[in-house]
Symmetry: C2
Subunit: 179 residues, 2 copies
């Protein structure tokens, strides 16, 4: 279960990063799929360093700022990540508040629900636009289609995001028609 550590390793397998970098990438690149707060990143990095999954590559100091600690993945970390990647797990629960709210739509006035649906739809349209831009950016970076290129893997995942947002938007439209 404990997947946050694999989320960190996933990013570190590609390039050395600081805790702050990881936090930023989580909230943009694989953004809406995974999120972490600083409270989880820093203690987890320490733990993982203690277990030999990552090591401190070096530190940087820019003027007045706190020391920036760059971590890199170790061979043991890479192996642990590969093992986890091939491990099988159960299907996840979706756990989306709005699905529950839709389940309650029979309780409220149709016009009030419609306003709510429109709002949710708008949020997902914004995400869709961000994903589409991301895929275009990534595709430009990838010259040859190669399944061993990390960028190709990233594109696949973001494409899932695009399909998901499209489905969500279409579903919202179907709900609006029913009201």
């Amino acid at each position: 279960m404990s997947s946050i550590r694999y989320a960190l390793l996933t990013l570190l397998a590609r390039e050395p990063l600081s805790g702050y970098d990881i936090k930023l990438q989580m909230n943009s690149r694989i953004g809406p799929f995974w999120k972490v707060g600083s409270n989880q990143v820093y203690p987890e990095l320490s733990k993982m360093e203690g277990e030999g999954l990552i090591r401190l590559q070096g530190t940087e100091q820019h003027a007045y700022r706190p020391v920036r600690k760059l971590y890199e993945i170790t061979e043991a970390g890479r192996e642990a990540l590969i093992q986890w990647t091939l491990e099988r797990g159960g299907v996840e629960t979706v756990r989306d508040d709005f699905l529950l709210k839709a389940y309650n739509s029979w309780l409220v006035k149709p016009e009030e629900m419609a306003a709510q649906i429109e709002e949710v739809k708008k949020q997902h349209e914004e995400r869709l636009a961000a994903y589409v831009a991301k895929v275009e950016e990534l595709t430009a970076m990838l010259d040859a289609p190669d399944s061993h290129d990390p960028i190709a893997s990233t594109i696949s995942v973001v494409e899932f995001g695009i399909q998901y947002e499209r489905l969500y938007i279409e579903w919202c439209e179907k709900l609006l028609k029913k009201e």
Copy 2:
């Protein structure tokens, strides 16, 4: 934030239920969207009873078994649920392990990843079949299309599930082609 209490109220708004009933319904009807364990259900029911959102409708005793406590929603509970339903919230994070694993596919041998993808695809196909059966069952129960019928709301949510599983399966197939 997204608290379990509204999930309980959502079910109780439709019919009086015991904690055990709620647990069962969570793991079948709105199943893979939400889940609860008994550790959460029973304390939360007590809390909600104390706050006047639900009340004990009565108890049943079948032979040797523990007393079955049936709860029903109160007017205050209904109002709280309606308010929450119309409240706006942010978009949720998807948080699916397999998306992270796919993000790591560049690290592993294509044939090993393919086996993993096939396995995941199979799990989602099983879910899809369950949802399709559920929708058919619900549609048969609904005679007139009416947006104030709770069954209509349920169908909408399960239809989301169907679309989601289909998208997941198609995405798996696309991954397999890329390998």
